[in-house]
Symmetry: C2
Subunit: 364 residues, 2 copies
């Protein structure tokens, strides 16, 4: 079994790997950006140079997702967990109820936080089909008629579950897309609010993007901290206060990289191929196992278990020697997890599968 | 007049220059950190490697400010403006009132936000002495007896005002030290809460440090978003959610750099020398003017005006050619502003003064 590799493939669930070309460019201009003799992180967010960075990033992001003109794009701080509070505090208006679709760990975390601010109507969408974990079809989701909005999390990083349909409702749909934004085409006009922490498919940890429909900007609760106010941020072009400028700049580089790859449609095809490569191998193996029904397997996060859990440590150790890192499963699930966001190449997934085959041959 | 320079001295008020040695180290290990074959921004915040970064940064920060054991140090998101909301929401408890000392722009911004959550008792501490702007001595500050805490901002970046004494009170003292933390010795035990956005004396924009006394962790309002909860962050070692890992890492490098310079006592001496160099020159000049009384001149932010404001553009243009950048004053004040935080060297201040002398000789 070949043990060493010079190439590192990083399967971290987040903060996750960024595209190599982006990292190389950022390194080369780290100290002397744009011929200014300083780093982009050392200039005012109100300088014309940074405002150009900020505006280009927003425009590229809009282009990538075809975001309609009646939606604002906000660059925020606080992570998706800040949005767990910001969503009810911005959207409840006179209502005291919101419906949350529960299909996994992150949906449940959003529910916990929302329960501080409103009456949460939870719909348990988890089910199983032929002994495999799955999500009930959206047509079965029950939505309270007096809900201010319907919240769901279309990709559950820990459970390895992805939801491929949308709530059937006339209420504003709110989606936590932290782990699958930009990985597949979506129709933004179907949503009221989309939010995503950056550290999987956008950029480094510390910046969060919110897409919000204009008509939802007027509903804020009086106890909403201004830094979480969609309206404040929209009115100030996300510069209500000093934004995380370096994270914004890096996100902009990622958007330009994604455009150079052919955009979301092209990366979706690659993501599909990556997912088929690893799930296909797992399904034909009697040594590895994924317990999610094919309907709901995540294209971004692939949890899998070894038939002999006592070999988990050996698997991780040998994988690491081969340059395949951050494969340990989340503590809530155990086993392994390969996170294969946009920045993970097909070659990386193929290297992982090749290693899994060799490991199976030697240790099964 | 010599026009060109290869060295750039960056006087940005924030995001501000970081120490050159820090930036060079960060660049060199940008893609391959700690021999991992990835960037430090691409690894899990829960990995043992990152936890070491996080813990060392906290310990170095504690060492630099001699922070007593009964204080927690939190690494947060949202900037000082998030703290403008977090302070009342964390500290009011059963009280509905807090006293705010007003000596400038940032104190007033904190008051605006706090007014959303409580009855703000504002004490206007602004005064003038011999026609120069100053701050009334703390012994004169009136503090409402039923205040939950007393808030002040000891360095006003826009006004160029620094306060050298402390509220006289038995209430918890809360200080926004965004622009002068680590620039001078302080006695942390005198405070209830100290907070500081990073982008002046700590690191890049996107991380905020809060120092909070243990007995103040139990007073949170029920509408406080969890990401702003001192108690939640303290219990989770600031990893309640994914922290801005790269900003945390860079802040850690700045703390190590500051220790290598001799710590806060040594940098305070240099800061004093820098301030004396520029104020000393301004005071003997009839062409430049600073309107703050010597009692309250900021050692961090030096606003100054030219006797002929029509030369402002020329001054900025020639300064930039000389590598002296980001000297334009805040729009609320006009004229010039030199921000001379810890990362600005005495040589940088001397280069600025030399340029000011030459400019005065040629254009006065």
């Amino acid at each position: 079994m070949e043990l060493k590799s010079d190439t590192v493939y990083n399967f971290s669930a987040g903060p996750a790997a960024l595209p190599k070309a982006v990292m190389e460019q950022a390194q080369s201009e780290f100290i002397n950006w744009n011929q200014l003799g300083t780093s982009v992180m050392e200039i005012s967010h109100r300088s014309k140079e940074f405002i150009q960075v900020a505006q280009e990033a927003e425009q590229d992001f809009r282009d990538l997702l075809n975001i309609p003109d009646n939606y604002k794009v906000l660059f925020c701080q606080g992570g998706a967990r800040a949005q767990f509070a910001a969503v009810p505090l911005n959207l409840l208006g006179q209502s005291t109820k919101a419906t949350y679709i529960d299909a996994g760990y992150w949906a449940e975390s959003a529910i916990d936080e929302a329960s501080r601010y409103c009456n949460v109507d939870t719909f348990d969408a988890k089910t199983d089909i032929d002994g495999q974990s799955a999500v009930k079809p959206a047509s079965e989701w029950q939505i309270a008629p007096d809900s201010a909005y319907v919240h769901f999390c279309p990709n559950e990083t820990i459970d390895g579950i992805e939801i491929n349909d949308l709530p059937v409702t006339d209420k504003p749909i709110v989606a936590d897309m932290s782990s699958n934004i930009l990985s597949r085409e979506i129709d933004v006009s179907q949503y009221g609010v989309i939010y995503a922490g950056a550290q999987k498919n956008i950029g480094p940890a510390g910046i969060t993007i919110v897409i919000v429909r204009d008509d939802l900007l007027e509903l804020a609760h009086k106890m909403l901290p201004s830094v979480l106010s969609y309206k404040e941020l929209a009115e100030k072009d996300s510069m209500f206060n000093t934004p995380p400028t370096y994270a914004w700049y890096l996100s902009g580089l990622v958007f330009k990289w994604l455009k150079s790859q052919g955009g979301v449609k092209a990366i979706e095809q690659i993501n599909r191929e990556k997912a088929e490569t690893i799930y296909g191998y797992i399904d034909q193996s009697s040594f590895y196992r994924n317990t999610i029904h094919p309907n709901n397997r995540s294209r971004m996060n692939v949890p899998f278990q070894l038939a002999k859990p006592e070999l988990d440590g050996k698997f991780l150790e040998l994988a690491k020697e081969r340059g395949l890192v951050a494969l340990k499963g989340h503590r809530a699930v155990g086993g392994m997890r390969a996170s294969i966001y946009n920045a993970m190449t097909l070659a990386g997934v193929q290297a992982l599968v090749a290693f899994m085959q060799e490991f199976e041959a030697e240790y099964a």
